[in-house]
């Protein structure tokens, strides 16, 4: 039987691991952090991801260790559930359905069986939706899916930032700040002690709060960089505070160590400051942590600190002096300014990351391989400073040369530009700076590209600038033999009627260079630097240029700003065809003659894959993703596939990765932009791991959960006995599940449909199949699932009867 080869978009990682404060397990061996729709468990020693807790169907908004059991953790999500996990084995123990999107989760040791959540829309008053802090009494019922209804509001009008709520001394009170107001709520007296707009002035808004674990002291961080220590706040009028000032801009994170001997603070300066409690004049610093600190967490034994940074990095620090390990996710700058590239050597995705750096990101392992420091200057952490940014980067065909363009914008003077050329150094396995050209063009550079010819022996680079010139740079031997190795020098400069070149592109064999000068495409011969021909398709400025590959190498494709996709035949020098579509991105597969075009329409992006020589597109999919696709790249596969279906043949030799920009539902007030890189592949290869179908259960919580899902069944069977609920409670559910499975397996013709629980996933457009799929609302089993089930049934179930006996 031929396996079905449906093409779908898969979220390929790169999610934000520093969205919320991470949690460190009590033995300091594991670090839990929210990562997109999952919770990731990292080893603090090896930095490897040891478990991925999958189950939430929306953004996970908080991770917390269960105070009464240090092997379990709560996680809350915007899908309105709180889940209890055994994080060492990766088992979902319980799901509490709250029903409202949850922003954050808190717990305190003295409130057993109660968790506190922050949720939006429970009490909406005349001010509109305000967040409120709710206490949730977790029912002690059996069963995995628990509906909780025992909610009680503790505080209303809470800031959406989870750092602004803290529980004090053994859970006696809760402190919350919003704007310039600090509220303290005592649980015993059931009253607010302090509700003071105490800090007047423009820039001393509260940003974060932390409570001393043993003493009556609250530390608050402010926007002006001050930290205030509040005492005596149970009296109405006689509260006192003390101000500590070291940070020059906003304090983003505050944390007391478990014994209360130290206070840790961090902010944009990316310096971790350790204040001695009661001796605040003494501070210890850990400078140059790389990026702004967003969260600080301390392990329960106080030996390990962990700081989350704005560049998607978690740093583990041992006893405030030594950085022991760094967990680095895909760095998300403000925008991906460089194009996506695939390093031919390491097969890593290359894009700009930290300011002034280029990151190499492994797609297979979802890990950052390394950062290449392009700018090589001390990064000054200060807001409003013009920093050098890597705006352009390109690799040659063999990965032996890398060209980067860095730029620093200034208001008064023209931008500072540097073109750097890096050679790959075999012994050190990294790129080494070969040539620096300062101010290669007068104004900004619009495109750089290497000559693809003669693999491994690239010696030509073309750069286009806003100054109306394009320049060819050539690798030249040194003028004197004792000058060291070869370096790059300018070989040719030309323009075309003073127009601005926007795009340049080499043909696959390097014999032709196409430069798009606004409305005109000029084709040059790099061998003689002769202008061979000009092409144009007015009106509309050329936005993208691409030569066809292999059998279609006689075609030159271009998109214009007047929504035209044009294909010129270079042999007849005439327009072969053109079509009217708004192409936002056009790219060619380097290994085949296919081209991919992303079209932006009505907020969605459509994907077309076509051969320039054939009239019919090979593949098209409406609404691949929402929002605009900003960058995309074809990554070659390690092993070519043998797929026979016509629509997926184009993916046999390479995978298409693209980068979108979308805003998650639960964006904190500071407008966090998450861009996700996703991969489109035949799903049966990449989606070996299956996701459970929770959606049905969530939608209808009254229905008793049916354990129809095989993976859940498997989890149940594989999880250790001590974490499971009572066997008596489980038995009937389990039996039912098995029965259900048996009946369903009798229907093998049923087509499988995986309802994606990730926002990025969409189905392929096969119209006839699409209809079928929308009909089948109930989750049914795929063949793979059936196979797994058969394997399950072959297992020895003798333990089960003994369990029933007990």
């Amino acid at each position: 039987m031929v396996e079905q080869a449906e093409i779908r978009v898969v979220h390929q990682g790169g999610s934000n691991i520093t969205f919320r404060e991470p949690a460190i397990s009590s033995d300091s061996r594991f670090l839990l952090c929210a990562s997109g729709h999952n919770v990731k468990v990292f080893s603090t020693v090896t930095e490897e991801c040891v478990q991925e807790l999958r189950g939430h169907t929306d953004l996970v908004t908080g991770v917390l260790l269960r105070p009464s059991n240090h092997l379990q953790a709560y996680s809350c999500s915007a899908d309105g559930t709180v889940r209890l996990w055994d994080f060492t084995d990766g088992i979902l123990i319980k799901t509490y359905v709250i029903g409202y999107p949850i922003c954050s989760i808190y717990a305190s040791a003295s409130h057993d069986g109660v968790i506190f959540i922050e949720s939006v829309s429970l009490y909406s008053d005349k001010y509109g939706n305000r967040n409120s802090l709710l206490a949730v009494h977790l029912p002690q019922t059996a069963g995995q899916l628990v509906e909780t209804s025992d909610l009680s509001a503790v505080l209303s009008d809470v800031s959406a930032n989870p750092a602004t709520v803290a529980f004090g001394r053994a859970g006696e009170y809760v402190a919350s700040t919003n704007g310039v107001q600090l509220q303290i709520f005592f649980f015993k007296k059931q009253k607010f002690s302090l509700k003071e707009n105490s800090c007047s002035g423009r820039r001393n808004t509260f940003t974060c709060v932390a409570c001393h674990p043993t003493d009556d002291c609250i530390a608050t961080g402010h926007e002006d960089g001050k930290i205030r220590l509040w005492r005596n706040f149970d009296q109405k009028r006689e509260y006192t505070y003390r101000t500590l000032h070291w940070h020059h801009s906003t304090v983003r994170a505050l944390c007391f160590t478990p014994e209360g001997s130290n206070l840790l603070s961090g902010g944009v300066e990316s310096v971790l400051v350790q204040w001695r409690y009661q001796q605040e004049s003494q501070q210890d610093f850990l400078p140059r942590l790389g990026a702004a600190i967003t969260h600080i967490a301390v392990s329960p034994d106080g030996a390990l600190f962990c700081t989350s940074h704005s560049d998607n990095k978690i740093v583990l620090i041992q006893s405030c002096v030594k950085v022991s390990s760094i967990i680095q996710g895909l760095v998300k700058g403000e925008a991906v300014q460089t194009d996506l590239m695939v390093d031919p050597r390491s097969k890593a995705l290359v894009l700009n990351g930290k300011p002034g750096h280029l990151q190499f990101y492994s797609l297979q392992r979802d890990r950052l391989l390394f950062n290449l420091d392009v700018v090589q200057q001390e990064f000054i952490h200060q807001e409003g400073l013009d920093q050098f940014q890597v705006v352009m980067a390109t690799l040659d065909g063999a990965g032996a040369w890398l060209a980067t363009v860095e730029e620093r914008k200034q208001e008064t003077v023209e931008a500072e530009l540097n073109l750097k050329l890096w050679a790959f150094d075999e012994p050190s396995q990294s790129f080494v700076l070969n040539t620096t050209v300062s101010t290669p063009h007068e104004v900004r550079i619009t495109a750089v590209t290497f000559d693809p010819a003669a693999r491994g022996q690239t010696s030509l680079l073309v750069s286009c600038g806003r100054d109306g010139l394009f320049k060819a740079w050539r690798l030249a031997p040194p003028a004197h033999p004792d000058d060291g190795g070869p370096s790059w020098t300018c070989d040719f400069v030309s323009g075309y009627h003073g127009l601005t070149p926007q795009r340049c592109c080499f043909s696959a064999d390097g014999s032709l260079l196409a430069v798009g000068f606004q409305e005109v495409v000029t084709v040059w011969s790099p061998a003689s630097w002769e202008l061979l021909l000009t092409l144009s398709q007015p009106p509309g400025i050329i936005r993208d240029l691409c030569f066809g590959r292999l059998s279609c190498s006689k075609f030159l494709l271009g998109t214009t700003s007047s929504d035209q996709l044009c294909c010129w035949n270079l042999l007849t020098c005439s327009l072969e065809w053109s079509t009217s579509m708004e192409v936002s991105l056009l790219l060619a597969d380097p290994l085949s003659d296919n081209m991919a075009a992303f079209c932006h329409q009505d907020g969605n992006t459509d994907l077309f894959v076509f051969k320039p020589s054939e009239p019919r597109p090979l593949f098209s999919q409406k609404a691949v993703c929402s929002g605009r696709v900003s960058r995309a790249v074809f990554a070659p596969r390690e092993v070519a596939l043998e797929s026979c279906e016509e629509s997926s043949q184009w993916l046999n030799r390479s995978q298409l990765y693209f980068l979108t920009i979308c805003i998650p539902v639960f964006s904190p007030p500071s407008q966090l932009v998450v861009d996700d890189s996703v991969a489109m592949t035949p799903f049966q290869l990449l989606l070996g791991k299956r996701r459970p179908h929770h959606q049905a259960a969530v939608e209808d919580p009254a229905v008793r959960p049916r354990l129809t899902d095989v993976s859940l069944l498997l989890q149940l069977l594989q999880s250790p006995a001590h974490v499971l609920p009572a066997a008596a409670a489980l038995c009937s559910v389990f039996m039912e599940a098995l029965l259900g499975v048996a009946t369903e397996t009798s229907d093998p013709e049923e087509e499988e449909e995986e309802d994606s629980d990730q926002e990025m996933e969409t189905r392929a457009t096969r119209p006839e199949r699409g209809l079928l799929e929308t009909d089948s609302a109930d989750p049914v089993l795929s063949r793979a699932q059936v196979r797994e089930l058969r394997r399950v049934r072959k297992l020895d179930h003798s333990w089960f009867s003994s369990l029933l006996d007990s």
Binding site: L385, A479, T534, Q537, S574, E576, R616
Partner: protein, 528 residues
Amino acid sequence: MASFKPTKIPVYPKLGEKVTQDTLYWKNYKAPVQIKEYGAVSNIDFSPVAPHNFAVTAFSRIHVYGPFSQEPVKTFTRFKDTAYCGRFRSDGQLLVAGCEDSVVRLFDVSGRVALRMFKGHTKAVHVTDFTSDRYQILTGSDDYTCRLWDIPNAAELSTYREHTDYIRCGVTSKLNRDLFITGSYDHTLKVFDARAEKSVMTMDHGQPVESLLLYPSEGLLVSAGGRYVKVWDLLKGGQPLVSLKNHHKTVTCLALGNNGERLLSASLDRHVKVYNTTTYKVVHNFDYAAAILSLALAPDDESIVVGMTNSILSIKHRKHTEESKEIMSQQRRRPSYRVFVKGKNFVPKPDDYLVSKPVKEHLAKYDRELKKFNVSKALDASLEIWLRKKKPEITVGVIKELDRRGTLKNALAGRDEEQLSQLLHFVIGNIVDTRFAPIILTAAEMILDIYKSVIGQSALIDQQLLRLQNILESEINLEQELLEVLGMLDTMFATSVTRKEVPYSDVGRSNGLAQGEASSSRPELQAT
């Protein structure tokens, strides 16, 4: 925790010529000694025997100078007219010279009166030389003939009348007593064998030949004429090897230096060029005050003697190692190597417990201040380096870094008179340097903004500000003039380059056709 990244000091390409082995070698001469002669110095010849006196032919005299004397040790004045080509015999005992009056005279270097007079030419004799057997003399004359003479009885041995113009240069073989080569204004070089009636080889130089030179091996012949220096392979029957065109006026003289590894050519364009004889690339260049007529090198390049049209003889003597050593010994003695490796080469035993010590990174003083955000002190430290080492790159690098950090204004402000004048001194010295101008202009603007309120309080500062203003004004004028020149050049280039027509002029027309075509109704591909 990443370590502090030091300030990037840009490396600028060294302007001017590269320092190579050759530059060092040819620059290692003392300041030239200049001697005024009676007329244009037409020939210089070194005696082959120590102490290597040299004979200088100028107007109607030949002076013989000792290696270090500035006064002639001997003078030959018995010429009726302009003398030409005073040359020593290989034993240094005899000297021969031609004359405008067509008589060739032979002198004893210790005597004054000519030993022999060779009469027979009808016009001025510009070429004289001894053959390698020492008993014969070669002469070449403006009467188009060259002759061989016997010294003992002053008799003419043979006459060759093959040239069709003045013979102005000639050389005899040092290995074979019968071979000699002459070059003439009829553009040809001819190789003669005294045993044969006619010339045995003829080469066409293409220009009137001014000078000839045989390599010590005598396989290669170098000829100079017009702007060209040409090298001929005699063993391959006079095949041209290289043609060098590095002068922009007539090349007048040739010489070999550095044991035959370098070739020197002197020209009327006032330059002496040094070529590498393996690659024939120019490796060095000397400049002189006037057009050069003659050039000679002492054995082992001990001195370079150049005679010019303005009758100045310039002698450069080689510097010797003893003198440079003296300078070396004046330098401070450094600690010995042992001090630096002390304890570094200790190899721990296998069961030793190693205490790792963090390597202390060394930072420059300005970097240490920058690390602590002491911006003013960092600028002070970099200015100090500039004063000490006169390297503006570092100071400019620090100013750039301060500007990037947005703290340049803070660093510039709050200075007293002395510090400010130091800063202005730096700005004045480097503001017109194109490499540094953009950033120093920014800094200068800031300085003026900050300190405009204190103008008039200090005479020193006011004076410096005035100087800055003058420098800027002259620079602006200069740039304007340069732009004018550029404009003129552009028009000249534009008229000289013929405009090339772009082929496929009908492209635009054919493109317009397919405007509304959808992708489905695409025409079928043409088989091409």
